[in-house]
Symmetry: C2
């Protein structure tokens, strides 16, 4: 009886999945059940699965995105939908949305991958010089050797020089630089070091809400305590220092707050933090003895002409040696964002200041278990921190390509904000930086009720309906966290301008129709 | 007082590290202490560090290797040592030891990295065809896009075809294939899924002793219970099924054994498992309801002409549907070993059979948090599973290069074993496969005592002395695990034949000198 039920449940799943493999699997179950009258128990089931894994959530690639993939495959196989194309605005994946790679970067990576090309006259001398230098730093002069666990020495040196220039001379020591597998890898490694204690002494990690869900996922996996501090939506998602104090004091009752994470420019919220605000955060961290993790992967993505990126490190330096020589600060960067958008290479670095020497040895040991970050990703990172100089042959093309990408993003940031704000029931803060809009959407009470009766968050239902009716794939705000009773979605500004305009138009039409459909009968229709 | 002590301890560390950065760091400490009369407490210290991180050990990149790096830098700066070169035989890093990359593989990666080269006449058509196909599978046809969390579809399909051919027609479903960041990443992900329970119900993981220390490190980090089963050194490191039963029964008293890990061909032990033995292990796993993890990254590295690699999957299939449709089996492969030795690309895959469907969704979710494995590593993996065919232009060169690498390794495996066995007090099993010799070394009781008085394992002291006196960098057996009272080291067979012979000669001289030095006064000198 229970076996039959089990099989039927699986059949229901197949209806959704439209995947022949699942059918095969069920068929095997049936054969087996008939064959020996009992089913051999599986070792790994939902009951025996690591509960920390179960607790992990990651909306950026959650159920909406899975569904979008299914619809896309359906379209390819001729299935009918009220649209001809799925537009994926769910993830900061520039090249997938049509952005072209930076030529110089790819030339250097190709030269490193196949050094015979160093003899080719079709590659510029500056690209060859970069490639030779990187290969010189690799064991056996090959990208195929493991690098040191912290990364290739000369690339770490280039990163340090880059940081010094970016921060107008604030000293950077390459001994503090660790190359990573994207920024995510570094963030998880640092969090892993910081988690200890039990019960009320368990490590607490302060994260912004809304946040990039890597943070909440890592906190779940590590069984740390998540401490939410809410960004101020009414004030362009600014970080409010009073809210930090509130969150800290409240959390102290049930955990040991040890880390504060900041994302600047913000993901999913797109704000760029003011210098004053950064100084306040660092002062707070100093006073409360917190480890500071500043996620600065969007440092090149600032669009508002009256704003600029301030690194946490530079501000810390300017606060004086009492701060600069004591506050433990890890800053993260990546090849995936900025103007290069090289997500697939999984390149990144972190700079870690004021780490205890013995702890540093432990960090290197931890990294060494995974041997090293991908060396081609390290090479890509090198190009970003060591781009062509004005006198070099690739300079003009490099800067033309870089400006074109950043110019288009600035334009799309503005178009997105402005268009969304013309839609009744949608309110969007300026997209000052990063790659996302995170507008607030009004969801009528009847729709909220319906969603709740379906066991779904209201913005999840909204995004699902949007996907089914228009082919637009966004991520519900609930995947990032938001104040109780408010609803949002995250959309990237990465589609081409033309496609972005289509997306925004369809979204507007959908939203108006959605409002109409769920308009309360009591409210006068206008 | 305690501050002074702290500073002095740091100074002592500097003596060893010979690193100016450490001195600067101390200087900052002193300035600070003088400046305000107190030191601001660090957030992250050895006391507050995650104890699971502290528990991790990874000898392959442990203290000996750090010291080797220091000596190497010292040599470059003109320091005097009784040798002119450090020979690193500590890690399976082929290219670092001079092995050349496979041309076809690098051509494909270069073409994918810089697709303009698809128009170049200097690349063969089959390499271009592979590159076009891979790019077709990437978002925006760019290696810079994130792939799906399980990897690029067409590469997963190629892996499935490869496995079917390798296993003479045993069906492989690409839905079961996951591309990974090297094999390590896949191994840790699967282990992470399997860890649950508290106290006596905590998951136990059976691993061979000696083992590759990734396993013990991951078990420490995940707070699982390590269950040692000892390989039979007297029988060429064979896996003894009675020993499995013993280890399992003993472990059942204090944990819940849920996983058995096998490394075949063996690392560090170099044995190739017989078909019969694999069948016994699978039968055991079936009976005891264990999840099977077979680390098969050395599947192309079999040197003994009378032995061959049998995949766990093929044997499982041949045991009949009752086994093939039920036993949960994850098999791991990598770009890092075999004949390509592409460690730096961090490519790999795993095939996971009979995973519960809901658990599979959880696994994909877990992987999605890290977005995707490096796409250039995925491309490298594709070449290994989809090499040039006999009618294709690159076929001859590819096979020439492949055979040259594998032929040289087979020769070096033999030279290593034979030479080591000529040394009194060293006994080496045949290096049937993989890339390592793991000889047993006799360490005189007086040396054992001296090591213990230094708080060091005897083989660690042996390897440290060897490094200091000859420049040869090996890994002590204690880093892999060994029977109480026995001592070993792991050395790779990767140096060039010429260098390997020098290494073995120096090693012999050192060993004889070492035996003489520590010969007990009571024993008659011969």
């Amino acid at each position: 009886m229970s076996v039959l039920r089990f099989i039927l449940e699986k059949v229901c799943m197949v209806r959704n999945k439209q995947n022949i493999n699942y059918l095969n699997n069920i068929w095997q179950c049936i054969k087996q059940t008939h064959g020996n009258g009992k089913m051999r128990e599986k070792t790994l089931t939902m009951d025996t699965l690591n509960p920390q894994v179960k607790a992990v959530e990651y909306a950026v690639r959650g159920p909406i995105v899975t569904k979008a993939g299914d619809i896309e495959r359906g379209l390819q196989q001729g299935q009918k939908h009220p649209f001809t194309e799925v537009i994926k605005a769910n993830i900061g994946d520039s090249h997938a949305m049509g952005q072209k790679p930076i030529t110089f970067l790819r030339q250097v990576v190709a030269l490193c991958s196949f050094p015979e090309l160093l003899n080719s006259s079709s590659f510029p001398e500056d690209a060859k010089q970069r490639a030779r230098r990187i290969l010189q730093g690799c064991g056996g002069q090959s990208l195929g050797s493991y690098s040191a666990s912290q990364g290739v020495d000369c690339i770490r040196q280039d990163v340090a020089v880059y940081i010094e220039q970016r921060d107008k001379g604030v000293p950077a020591d390459w001994d503090n630089i660790y190359l990573t597998t994207g920024a995510s890898d570094g963030i998880v490694s640092i969090l892993k070091m910081l988690v200890s204690g039990q019960g009320r002494s368990r490590s607490g990690v302060m994260i912004p809400i809304p946040q990039y869900p890597l943070y909440s996922a890592a906190i779940s996996e590590l069984e740390a305590v998540q401490i939410n501090y809410y960004l101020d939506e009414d004030n362009c998602w600014a970080l409010d220092i009073n809210e930090l104090h509130r969150a800290y004091q409240a959390a102290k009752e049930h955990c040991h707050p040890r880390v504060i994470c900041i994302i600047n420019p913000g993901n999913p919220t797109g704000q760029v933090q003011s210098r004053k605000c950064i100084e306040d955060v660092l002062h707070f961290a100093y006073e409360e003895n917190l480890f500071v993790m500043s996620d600065e992967v969007y440092q090149d993505n600032v669009y508002s002409p009256d704003l600029q990126f301030h690194s946490f490190k530079k501000v810390l330096y300017e606060m004086g040696p009492e701060y600069f020589n004591t506050v433990e600060l890890a800053s993260f960067h990546s090849t995936s964002k900025g103007y290069s958008g090289e997500c697939g290479f999984r390149g990144g670095y972190m700079e870690v200041l004021n780490l205890d020497l013995e702890v540093k040895a432990q960090l290197v040991k931890l990294l060494s278990v995974r041997l090293c970050p991908p060396v081609s990703g390290q090479a890509a990172m090198d190009v970003i921190v060591n781009p062509p100089l004005p006198h070099e042959p690739s300079y003009l093309q490099f800067h033309k390509e870089k400006s074109a990408v950043l110019g288009a993003l600035a334009e799309k940031a503005q178009v997105t904000e402005q268009t969304l704000n013309t839609v009744p029931g949608i309110k969007c803060n300026p997209v000052q930086g990063a790659m996302y809009a995170f507008p607030r959407i009004f969801i009528p009470p009847r729709a909220v009720e319906e969603a709740k009766s379906l066991g779904m968050s209201p913005d999840m239902m909204y995004c699902l309906r949007l996907l089914e009716e228009t082919g637009i794939c966004l991520v519900p705000g609930s995947g990032f966290g938001q104040r109780e009773g408010t609803y949002h979605f995250r959309m990237t500004i990465l589609p081409t301008t033309e496609k972005l305009k289509v997306l925004l138009e369809k979204l507007r039409d959908f939203h108006i129709k959605f409002l109409k459909e769920y308009a309360s009968l009591e409210e006068p229709k206008r």
